[in-house]
């Protein structure tokens, strides 16, 4: 199979507007991945599926990852003038990496029996920009898995034919796989008709005795 660099070059010709980045993987046995901007995610995925040399017709695994806001501390050397003498001083620089949600697709080819190509899409943030293009129109196999990512992480897939909760119940609020999710204390509480019924009953049977 082609290397990721070759794919990147060919992608630049096929989908010129796409920003494709190759992400390193610290694990030697693991695969590096292609990070694609959300707007061109669908076009890039379509290229990967239909290109005759790649023919990634099998979307094996779709999953979400939550990356909350994180403070990254770096030690950098800064030149400072201390008592009139210029010295190199180590300083701790703190930067805030804004959080995002990430969806990872593991693509293989059943016809050519190669793979995987790891495709990653990232949302703008974790609150209001959680839309990503759905790849279900390309691979049916992503249908339930994207529903699961929506259910557990809250990524909204545009173009998904049937985006509903799949493992949690429909009335459930929140996304349990997010790192900052807190389960409610009264998990078992469910509103029952009893309170309303009791309210209504009070109207029918006045408790106050009129003098």
């Amino acid at each position: 199979m082609e290397t990721l660099e070759q794919i990147q070059t060919r992608l630049a010709a096929a989908v010129p507007s796409a920003k494709v980045e190759i992400l390193a993987n610290d694990c030697a046995a693991g695969e590096r991945s292609l990070l694609v901007d959300a707007a061109n995610g669908f076009a890039v995925a379509k290229f990967l599926r239909d290109d005759a040399q790649l023919l990634l017709d099998y979307c094996s695994n779709v999953t979400g990852i939550d990356w909350p806001d994180k403070e990254i501390t770096e030690k950098i050397k800064v030149k400072q003038t201390v008592d009139g003498v210029e010295k190199e001083v180590e300083e701790v620089k703190k930067t805030l990496r804004p959080g995002y949600l990430e969806v990872v697709y593991h693509l293989y080819s059943m016809t050519l029996k190669h793979g995987p190509i790891v495709l990653r899409l990232r949302t703008g943030n974790r609150a209001d920009q959680t839309h990503l293009p759905s790849l279900t129109p390309l691979w049916r196999g992503a249908e339930f898995q994207e529903r699961e990512v929506y259910d557990l992480y809250g990524v909204l897939f545009d173009g998904h034919p049937d985006l509903r909760r799949i493992l949690m119940w429909d009335e459930f609020e929140g996304f349990p796989m997010r790192r900052d999710y807190l389960a409610p204390d009264d998990f078992e509480y469910e509103p029952t008709p009893h309170d309303e019924v009791l309210e209504a009953a009070k109207k029918h049977y006045p408790t106050e005795v009129k003098a």
């Binding site: 694990c27 099998y58 979307c59 695994n61 995987p116 009335e171 996304f175």
Partner: protein, 390 residues
């Protein structure tokens, strides 16, 4: 207002059915089949819309056993997830263990000793035998042959579970494999017993086959029912016997050659029509191939250690990185995706459950068939709800 509010479940409109002149012929009937229905193999529900007996629409509903296995995995150490993987597909704890161990070994760069590789192959193929046997029992029961075929299947399964119990201490929740090997070695007596079970298994398959393979009712109920076309199977990420019944030659034991599968001589059976009968036959033929692999593995198993001496059980912290590992489970491609951040717990722990994804095309296969056929089609998909719901 919560912008993430889930959309309400799309309810099925029950419309009157009209004939061309506009006269009402009756109504479509919406049936909620399950979750407590004996033929749904657990707590699984199908929302079915019926026109008479014909299925017009079918939506699978599940999640009744959901316990957020992946979240649990993120909050406990790598090794502590091993017994939890037993509970995914509780018929095939050995292959679940193997898939997880394989992924962590890839992540941490551990080697597996020769003898342990052989033991893993033996365990995985025994698992495949008992899973396929049970499945055939269940699905003949779904066709109405109550009790007897399933008891035949369970009788054989007991023999394999006894072998598992002897070596791991547990019949179903084996928790047998470790990163870099297996937990305990097997002795010669066990290998002799296994050889006998495997030798008897072909006789059982012959016997089972005479009852079922050319049985008139089985043929009538399964041939050209629930056909899954090849292109759809690939596009919908179907794996395992269902994919091969559709005629796609994709078996990870041959494609990835994980473990030591490249050393064994076996074939990948393929179907032609992609109907239920092909799915039944694929499983029978796969069992025959498993017996071949077992014969070779039990003959060639070398002596030696069963654990990588570099493998650490305590203080196990793989370097940062991510990895995706997969094995050919009895139900399809079972994958694990792990992200390590250098801490004792995985940052992300994901299971790629084969039977969850194989349910994607349940509706496509059932449309136009009778509701009684939908039961058999579901039986031929081979789902286990412990894995679907996770």
């Amino acid at each position: 207002m919560n912008t993430f509010a889930p959309q309400a479940a799309k309810s099925f409109a029950v419309k009157p059915k009209l004939d061309p002149s506009g006269e009402e012929l009756g109504e479509l009937l919406e049936v909620s089949m399950g979750p407590h229905h004996p033929s749904t193999h657990g707590v699984f529900r199908m929302d079915v819309v019926l026109d008479g007996e014909k299925v017009v629409k079918l939506k699978p509903v599940f999640g009744y056993l959901h316990r957020n296995h992946e979240k649990i995995g993120e909050n406990i150490s790598y090794l502590a997830s091993m017994p939890y993987t037993d509970r995914l597909d509780y018929f095939c704890s050995m292959t679940n263990n193997w898939a997880y161990a394989l992924t962590v070994e890839k992540l941490a760069g551990l080697a597996v000793p020769e003898r342990a590789e052989y033991i893993r192959v033996i365990m995985a193929e025994l698992t495949r035998l008992q899973n396929h046997t049970c499945l055939i029992g269940f699905f003949v029961q779904d066709m109405g042959a109550l009790g007897t075929p399933m008891m035949y299947a369970f009788r054989e399964r007991e023999k394999i579970l006894d072998l598992f119990e002897e070596v791991s201490g547990a019949r179903m929740m084996c928790n047998y494999m470790r990163f870099g090997g297996v937990r305990v070695d097997v002795n010669d007596e066990w290998i002799a017993k296994t050889k006998k079970v495997v030798a008897d298994y072909s006789k059982f398959l012959d016997e089972f086959g005479t009852f079922l393979t050319e049985n008139e009712i089985v043929l009538a109920r399964t041939q050209f029912v629930g056909v899954l076309p090849k292109d759809l199977a690939i596009n919908a990420s179907i794996t395992g016997p269902m994919l091969r019944a559709a005629g796609v030659n994709y078996d990870l034991r041959k494609v990835d050659k994980y473990g030591i599968y490249s050393r064994f001589n076996f074939q990948v059976p393929l179907g032609e029509h992609g109907d239920i009968y092909d799915r039944y036959m694929i499983r029978v033929l796969e069992m025959r191939e498993s017996i071949k692999i077992l014969d070779q593995a039990l003959r060639d198993i070398p002596a030696g250690p069963v654990m990588d001496p570099k493998a650490k059980l305590r203080g196990f912290r793989p370097k940062a990185g991510e990895v995706y590992g997969r094995v050919e489970g009895p139900k399809g491609e079972l994958g694990f995706y792990l992200i390590s951040d250098g801490s004792p717990n995985p940052y992300r722990y994901r299971v790629r459950p084969p039977s969850f994804i194989n349910l994607t095309i349940l509706e496509d296969m059932c449309l136009g068939h009778n509701i009684s056929d939908a039961v058999v089609i579901l039986g031929s998909v081979d789902i286990v709800l412990g894995e679907v719901d996770r």
